[in-house]
C-alpha cells in the first residue's frame, strides 16, 4: 500500500518563477486553492476548497508554515476534518526545488498520514487478514461443524 505521496514535476522555468507560485498567496490561488498564506515560519493559514463529502472533509485545510529555505524548500502542515474544528487528517506537505540547466525540478511529498509509515503491519496486510479469516472459519468449523461466517 502507498504510504505517502511523491511527485516530481519538471518545469521549464527558473526556480525564482516556480518559487513565486508556491509562496505568493495570489499566485497560489491561481492553481491550488484560495488561501491566506504568508512566507513566515509559524504562520497559520488556510486553504479553502469545496467540501469533499466522500472523505468527510469540510473543504478547509488548516496549515502552518514549518520551513522556508528560499528557492529551495518549503513545508507546511496540512490538517483537515469534517468541520467544527475536528481534525481527522494530520499530514505534512514538503516542496523541494532543484534547479537544472533547462529549468526546475519540483518535488512534492505529502506524508504523515497518521503514522501509516510506522504501521508496519500494512506490508503483510492482505495476506494477514485473509489468513485470519480462514483461521476463524476453521475455529468455527471445528466448533460447530460447517458453520458459515
Amino acid at each position: 500500500m502507498t504510504k505517502s505521496i511523491h511527485h516530481k514535476f519538471f518545469l521549464p522555468h527558473p526556480p525564482e518563477m516556480v518559487w513565486d507560485y508556491l509562496t505568493n498567496a495570489e499566485l497560489m490561488a491561481q492553481w491550488l486553492m484560495k488561501n491566506d498564506f504568508q512566507p513566515i515560519v509559524g504562520h497559520d493559514f488556510q486553504f479553502k476548497t469545496n467540501p469533499i463529502p466522500s472523505l468527510d472533509i469540510d473543504g478547509i485545510m488548516y496549515c502552518t508554515v514549518l520551513e522556508i529555505v528560499p528557492l529551495k524548500k518549503l513545508s507546511y502542515s496540512w490538517k483537515a476534518g469534517p468541520g467544527g474544528g475536528k481534525i481527522t487528517l494530520d499530514t505534512l506537505v514538503v516542496w523541494k526545488l532543484q534547479p537544472n540547466e533547462k529549468g526546475t525540478d519540483l518535488l512534492l511529498e505529502h506524508s504523515g498520514f497518521s503514522e501509516i509509515e510506522n504501521l508496519k503491519l500494512y506490508e503483510g496486510m492482505t495476506e494477514g487478514w485473509s489468513k485470519n479469516v480462514q483461521k476463524i472459519a476453521d475455529r468455527l468449523n471445528a466448533k460447530y461443524g460447517t458453520a458459515q461466517i
Binding site: 466522500s54 487478514w129 485470519n132
Partner: protein, 109 residues
C-alpha cells in the same frame, strides 16, 4: 451493514490501537487474550476495540463465551482512499501550475 467511513486516521493515531492491529495481523485473538498484552483495564481494552471496530479495522465474532477479534480490510481501504484522493488532487493541481507557468512565459515573449 453500514460501514462508518470516518475516523480511520484517529483510530490508528493511538499507539495502543496500532499495537492491537499489529497483534491481530499475526493472529485473530479474543478480547481477553488481546488485553493480556496491555497494562490497562478490561473496559479500557474494550473501548479501544470498539473504536477499531467502528472504524472498520476489525470484526468481532462471538464464539461460545469468547469474543474473537479479526482484522478487517475496510478500515485500511478507507485510509487508502484518502491517500489516493490526494494523490490525484496533487497531479491535477501540478498540471494546472505547469499550464499557468507555460502561458506566463509565452506572454512575456
Amino acid at each position: 451493514m453500514v460501514q462508518p467511513r470516518f475516523d480511520a486516521f484517529q483510530a490508528i493515531a493511538d499507539p495502543s490501537r496500532r499495537k492491537m492491529l499489529r497483534l491481530l495481523s499475526k493472529d485473530s485473538l479474543t478480547i481477553n487474550s488481546l488485553g493480556e498484552h496491555f497494562d490497562m483495564s478490561r473496559p479500557a481494552v474494550s473501548k479501544h476495540i470498539k473504536i477499531l471496530h467502528a472504524a472498520g479495522f476489525i470484526s468481532i465474532q462471538d464464539i461460545g463465551r469468547e469474543r474473537h477479534c479479526t482484522l478487517k480490510p475496510d478500515g485500511f481501504h478507507h485510509l487508502q482512499e484518502w491517500i489516493d484522493y490526494f494523490d490525484k488532487f496533487w497531479v491535477s493541481k501540478l498540471k494546472k501550475l505547469e499550464t499557468l507557468l507555460h502561458n506566463k512565459s509565452l506572454n512575456k515573449k
